[in-house]
Amino acid sequence: MTQVNMTVNGKSASGDVEGRTLLAQFLRDDQGLTGTHIGCDTSQCGACVVHVNGEAVKACTMLAIEADGATVGTIEGQANDDGSLNVIQQAFQDHHGLQCGFCTPGMVMSAAALLKDNPKPSEAEIRHYLDGNICRCTGYHNIVKAIMAASGQDVSAIAAE
């Protein structure tokens, strides 16, 4: 067992982990941050996307010990300080960008990383960026629309509801 220390959502977090413990497992099992989901075992689905030192990372592709000393952001830390939904979260609700909610944390975290690098992405750029995030419920239409809306773009021309 190795002790790891990191900052998660602005608070210090530490624990003893095995060498094989993934960051996703550390967040879920040690820290109780169950908003980070595990949807596959081949790093394809993106339900576990978190931010490590400001970059979007699939938490199943990183060992917990690799994140030692890192600053980690998860879905639990995304809301505004007053607890209200942030711009991206609110856009997902407003545009029905989620159904079962399982892929949603990863989608929101990926969207945040995209908008940080590309504040006004086109539809094609959003679809390309989300290649590593699989959703089975929405058919992506409303996710793409929500991300465009969150970036301040007019989505009223995109098919209704």
Binding site: E18, R20, R28, L33, T34, G35, T36, H37, I38, G39, C40, D41, T42, Q44, C45, A47, T74, I75, E76, Q78, A79, L85, Q89, F92, Q93, D94, H96, L98, Q99, C100, G101, F102, C103, T104, P105, V108, E123, A124, I126, R127, H128, L130, D131, N133, I134, C135, R136, C137, T138, G139, Y140, H141, N142, I143, V144, K145, I158, A159, A160, E161
Partner: protein, 787 residues
């Protein structure tokens, strides 16, 4: 003006807030103090005799608590099948025993052989590696037509063959159908495959068993679409636990699409093992396990023939289908290729004579059962493909041929045992033609061709049957369950309501849309209504969510219970207002006496019900809580017309979806935003089936597509923005909301439009191909273009 609440409003989903902030409560998020972990050792061989399972070395590994094998379950009931089909000779289907853990033989890759329960998951996995399993391999049967040959190896030695049943529908019509074909002016024949799919909800299955020695109660937390059904099936048929000693909880469930209807071995195992070791036992499926243990979908091989007279009227339809059951009968598997498929073969057309033959076959593959649409996509695909092929053979416009044969008068009794109550297929086709901008297609095609691409346009219609019912009919058809729904409405003293519904939401937004209905009926704000589901200790009874049944059946039960609430509340109000009950009106959350200004608020009445100081105690009981069970008198029949426009790169065979238009008739709509979202998701799964997805086995029964590296899930860049319309509304005549259901339409209606469009694109490039099987992959398209 869009409404801002109640029926017809696009109310934002209340469940979203917890999902968007990481506060969802999915089964894998639940951890019980003291829980142990189970890992299943699964067969990597498709068919063989289990000669030895030696667990001695594994049992000595660190952290191992107990290892279970098939012998531990020899005295336990097998996994039950919930539907019995009677074959065309009047005999019951062949129904093999389905053990919790493999016993004697293994029959598909992924079948659990042993279960290791340990202190940690890693220890359980490590120990499973040390189990020594000896399997004497037997030849596997994978191809259905090979499986029914006389000398084929048998999946189940105690059955007479690999044929589960040979079903004829309607058998009495067969001779007349054959005669119509002899007299036909034109016959179109098509052989096709409906590809095997894996449902792949993003949340893998999870089960946690818990046992309380103090009161003898078992609890199972599970990723289920219907916890009460699991309680009944597992309690009564597998483990012998009565309902009052078994609680099943399905909390937030991350998608189902049918595959979480069924009762699985892992649920029974965790419930059993929790008592055996006196500790909670948790299992979380990996995605790879999901591919080889979740029930698969589709997998039909069909020959369909359509007969027409000289005026191009459809005169008869005849189909011959092989349906894969896999190695065992999953919970509702036998019903899918029969009652959920044969009854839909009339589609939107007034074909007077129809005969459907289905041979259900056992193979050494994962069991196959309902997946979004379940039988109806298979019916729609064959019918809409053969109609399109027929139009091209005859040189007539595919839309005109469809219109000519549309059913136009309702109610309409089909020759396949169902009666459509309402529909307007002309209206949805009109709407589709308008939205799909057919007039502009030629210009778009020219633009594509200028870039060296081919462009194709395809349409199809569909009809769906939702909310399968009534129970006394489905009982005659072989269902071993009722298909009603229940709801309990509990009004609290201060006026808030809790609706306990047997429907289960795993993405459909019931917590929002169900609340809209009750709020509208009483005239109160939606925020005063809470929807509770997914826990057998909170909801009295339920049949769950599948087959687009929730609003049509569960919603109707909720309406009936709310009507009882309102009736009792009016009695209380009439007492408070000292007026005749027949003069009491409920509007905007207040009871008033007709023609006067006397009224009492909703909250005054609910308070009186629980603080009955001024109350008609001689006439009615205190309290305000009512339950209703609703058993529909018929299915509902959503319908629609879909159009797909593709671009095809003749150099590479790559097909892209450029436009997709859906014009649906779902009857009345509760929440348009949610309905549109349901269609989007269905379209993505239908387009996925048509272009990308395929569950593949090799000839030895090895599963070739057991991860997201091998099974092509549709991704954002594979799909277009959709144009979805549901303004054509012919309300259902036999349920109180006039609703029809919308969950499966997209998946049912989209695959034929995609394939029809691809073939159209090929024709525009000078290649007249009669059919191409799904998924329409680049290699298949390229081969067809260059063949």
């Amino acid at each position: 003006m869009p409404k801002d609440g109640g029926i017809g409003a696009s109310s934002k989903r209340r469940e979203d807030v917890r999902f968007l902030t990481g506060n969802g409560n999915y089964t894998d998020d639940i951890n019980i103090r003291g829980q142990a972990y189970v890992h299943f050792l699964r067969s990597d061989i498709a068919h063989g005799t289990l000669t030895s399972v030696d667990t001695a070395a594994a049992a000595a590994m660190p952290g191992v608590i107990q290892i279970f094998t098939g012998d531990d379950f020899a005295e336990i009931g097998g996994m039950p099948c919930g539907w019995q089909i009677t074959d065309k000779h009047g005999a019951a289907m062949q129904e093999p025993k389905h053990p919790v853990l493999a016993h004697g033989k293994v029959r598909h890759v992924g079948e659990p052989i042993a279960a290791v329960v340990a202190e940690t998951l890693a220890q359980a996995r490590d120990a499973a590696e040390a189990i020594e399993v000896e399997i004497a391999e037997l030849p596997a049967v994978v191809n259905m037509k090979d499986a029914v040959k006389e000398d084929a190896p048998k999946v189940h030695d105690d059955l007479t063959s690999n044929l589960c049943y040979d079903w004829g529908f309607v058998e009495e019509n067969k001779a007349a159908v054959d005669e119509a074909f002899e007299k036909a002016a034109h016959v179109t024949t098509l052989e096709l495959v409906n590809n095997r799919l894996v449902a792949n909800p993003m949340e893998p299955r999870v089960a946690i068993g818990d046992y309380n020695r103090s009161d003898g109660e078992h609890t199972l937390y599970t990723t289920s679409q219907n916890p009460h059904v699991i309680r009944l099936l597992m309690g009564a048929f597998v483990l012998g636990i009565p309902e009052h000693k078994l609680r099943v909880v399905a909390p937030d469930v991350g998608g189902g699409f049918g595959t979480k209807i069924f009762h699985y071995q892992e649920e029974a195992f965790c419930t059993f093992a929790a008592k055996a070791i006196n500790r909670p036992v948790k299992w979380t499926s990996t995605r790879s396990e999901a591919f080889m243990s979740d029930a698969h979908g589709r997998d039909h091989v069909t020959k369909i023939e359509l007969a027409l007279d000289a005026q191009n009227n459809f005169t008869a339809l005849r189909t011959d289908t092989y349906a894969n059951m896999g190695a065992y009968l999953s919970t509702f598997a036998p019903s899918v290729p029969t009652w959920l498929h044969g009854t839909l073969m009339a589609g939107n057309y007034k074909t007077p004579l129809i005969y459907v033959n289905v041979k259900a076959v056992f193979t050494n593959t994962v069991p196959v059962d309902a997946y979004r649409g379940a039988g109806r996509p298979e019916a729609t695909f064959q019918l809409e493909r053969v109609v399109d092929k027929c139009a091209h053979e005859l040189g007539v416009d595919p839309i005109a041929l469809r219109r000519q044969n549309f059913i136009t008068e309702f109610p309409y009794a089909t020759p396949v045992a169902v009666e459509y109550d309402t529909g307007d297929y002309v209206a949805t086709m009109d709407k589709l033609e308008e939205l799909a901008d057919i007039a502009g297609f030629d210009a778009r095609r020219k633009e594509s061709e200028a870039r060296g691409k081919l462009r194709g346009f395809g349409v199809n219609c569909y009809i769906e049957a939702c909310g399968i019912a009534p129970s006394n009919l489905v009982g005659q058809l072989g269902a071993r369950a009722g298909l009603y729904e229940s709801a309990t409405v509990r009004v609290n003293a201060t006026g808030g309501l809790v609706v306990m519904t047997g429907s289960h939401s795993h993405g459909q937004g019931h917590e929002t849309s169900f609340a809209q209905v009750v709020a509208e009926m009483i005239g109160i704000d939606e925020s005063m209504v809470d929807i509770v589901h997914g826990d057998t200790s909170k909801v009295p009874m339920g049949m769950g969510t599948y087959g687009s049944r929730s609003i049509a059946v569960g919603g109707s039960a909720m309406v009936r219970a709310t009507e009882k609430i309102i009736a009792k509340a009016k009695k209380i109000a009439s007492h408070l207002l000292e007026a005749s009950e027949s003069d009491i009106e409920l509007k905007d959350g207040a009871f008033s006496v007709a023609g006067t200004d006397k009224s009492v608020a909703w909250g005054d009445v609910t308070l009186a019900a629980y603080v009955p100081h001024n109350y008609p105690l001689d006439d009615i009981e205190p309290g305000l809580e009512e339950t209703a069970f609703y058993d529909p008198s018929n299915f509902t029949y959503p319908s629609g017309a879909y159009a797909c426009e593709v671009e095809l790169d003749p150099e590479t065979g790559v097909v892209t979806i450029e436009r997709f238009t859906a014009a649906d008739d779902f009857g009345n709509i509760i929440n348009p935003m949610i309905v549109t979202g349901q269609v989007h998701g269905g379209l993505a799964q239908g387009i996925g089936q048509a272009l990308l997805e395929n569950c593949a086995y090799d000839e030895d029964g090895q599963l070739l597509s057991a991860s997201y590296m091998d099974y092509a899930m549709p991704r954002a860049s594979d799909l277009p923005m959709y144009d979805v319309d549901h303004s054509c509304q012919t309300p259902c005549t036999h349920n109180p909301l006039g609703v029809k259901g919308c969950g499966e339409a997209g998946a049912i209606g989209s695959p034929p439009a995609v394939v029809n469009a691809v073939l159209d694109a090929m024709r525009s490039g000078g290649k007249d191909v009669a059919h191409i099987d799904m998924p329409v992959s680049p290699s298949r398209v390229w081969a067809a273009m260059n063949g």
